[in-house]
């Protein structure tokens, strides 16, 4: 097993799903549930003659941060691009339900329990969305995870962590948006339709997926931070993501409503204002929106060290 202290200094971007899960919680507290030794592989992939993985590409388990039980879900991008199928989706849903059930139990046993002793769910996304091999089962898995978020709302905070190689795209982009709070690194990417798919559908003139700078300033953590799509922008280290989750662990579940992007009439209004702004502006580049948000030198801001970016960046308000 990976050395916990060494994991802390490791790049989040380059870490495997399991290392991210272990490093996110306190040293030695992570217990994997439905792990590789349980051999819960996808039956659909077997039928198709496609390679399978013992954990179906999702690491699930529970650990602690301080007194708080933290239920962790961590997706592995190297296995079929982190695409979510039936088994992996069921593991996600079950983990969230375990957290909800545990929260209920703890509250019933001690109505005066401190907020930082109640469970929290952290999901490290690295996925292109639905595993197409599993079609409807994969789609259903997405819906079930969103449904679990609804059950968790007001009971157990759900935190999204995005800073891995594949990013978070497709249906899982929707799922991430439905969490309570999103933490990204500048290397994290979040969106619905991935760059390659946009290029394939709309042509290279619309979006050049081979232009890394364009891809990152459109889908990357810095842009999402300015747009308000992510709440916190952290350094690319496991310790930095862990540090932000540790801060969030101090908050009672009610405080997480302030971070949400969807889920109330007021937030829908806000989203509609953003859509109206896009229609009015017709931006040709993400930097147009950065400028509109009050950043006079978007290119300079985009190239600045992430620490300076955090200090200087003006975030869009609609």
């Amino acid at each position: 097993m990976a050395n916990w202290s060494k994991l802390q200094t490791r790049s989040f971007l380059e870490s495997s799903a399991r290392d991210r899960a272990i490093g996110l919680v306190d040293e030695g507290t992570f217990t994997e549930l439905a792990g590789p030794f349980d051999r819960m592989s996808s039956p659909h992939l077997v039928a198709l003659g496609e390679a399978v993985e013992f954990d179906d590409g999702v690491v699930t388990g529970v650990g602690r941060i301080g007194k708080r039980p933290v239920f962790v879900i961590s997706q592995e991008g190297r296995f079929i691009g982190g695409a979510v199928g039936e088994v992996g989706g069921a593991k996600m849903v079950t983990t969230i339900d375990l957290a909800i059930g545990f929260a209920d139990e703890l509250r019933a046993a001690n109505p005066k329990i401190a907020p930082d002793e109640l469970p929290l769910v952290a999901i490290s996304f690295e996925t292109g969305g639905v595993r197409l091999h599993e079609s409807n089962a994969g789609l259903l898995a997405h819906a079930e995870v969103m449904d679990a978020f609804q059950r968790a709302r007001g009971k157990v905070p759900v935190v999204a962590l995005i800073g891995s190689r594949i990013g978070c795209f497709g249906g899982m982009g929707f799922v991430a948006a439905a969490t309570d709070v999103i933490v990204m690194s500048e290397f994290g990417r979040l969106g619905l339709t991935g760059p390659e798919v946009i290029e394939e559908e709309m042509g290279k003139d619309e979006f050049d997926a081979s232009n890394r700078a364009l891809v990152y300033r459109t889908t990357g953590g810095r842009h999402k931070y300015i747009m308000g799509d992510c709440n916190f922008l952290v350094d690319d280290r496991i310790a930095a993501f862990r540090g932000q989750v540790t801060e969030l662990c101090k908050l009672p579940v009610g405080d997480f409503e302030q971070f949400r992007r969807i889920g109330s009439a007021a937030l829908v209004e806000k989203q509609m204002r953003a859509v109206a702004l896009a229609a009015e502006m017709q931006p040709k580049d993400a930097y147009d929106v950065w400028r509109r948000a009050g950043n006079n030198d978007p290119a300079g801001l985009g190239d600045a060290p992430v620490d300076d970016f955090r200090k200087q960046a003006q975030r869009l308000s609609v």
């Binding site: 097993m1 495997s16 799903a17 792990g35 590789p36 030794f37 051999r39 592989s41 992939l45 077997v46 039928a47 198709l48 003659g49 496609e50 390679a51 399978v52 993985e53 013992f54 592995e76 190297r78 296995f79």
Partner: protein, 104 residues
């Protein structure tokens, strides 16, 4: 085009190394594999189960696994592999890495 399962047993010439605990290593990325090594009472033998989309390389698999088991002097271990088109060199390396994890 089904997923192929290859199962066989081998015995190291100087079988003497037993595992204290099971270990899992690797990710089934493209051209990569994962391996589980588990201690099991097999009267000194080593069982191997490989699940792979690749067909027609049974002899190569056997050779690579036998070489590993002999070098590591493994006894009473069940090896379980999920493969996704890994080359023999990668298979060899991952097996050694998994084995190194058991000592860590």
């Amino acid at each position: 085009m089904a997923l192929n399962t290859l199962e066989f047993e081998c015995k190291a010439e100087a079988a003497s190394v037993r595992l204290a605990a099971p270990v899992h290593y690797g990710v089934v990325g493209s051209g990569d594999l994962e391996v589980i090594l588990e201690p099991r009472d097999l009267e000194g033998a080593v069982t191997v189960k490989i699940t792979t989309p690749v067909a027609g390389f049974d002899a190569v698999w056997r050779k690579v696994l036998e070489t590993f088991v002999n070098r590591a002097k493994l006894a009473d271990v069940a090896i379980d592999i999920n493969d996704n088109n890994a080359s023999p060199a990668v298979v060899s390396m991952r097996l050694q890495q998994a084995f190194a994890e058991t000592a860590a």
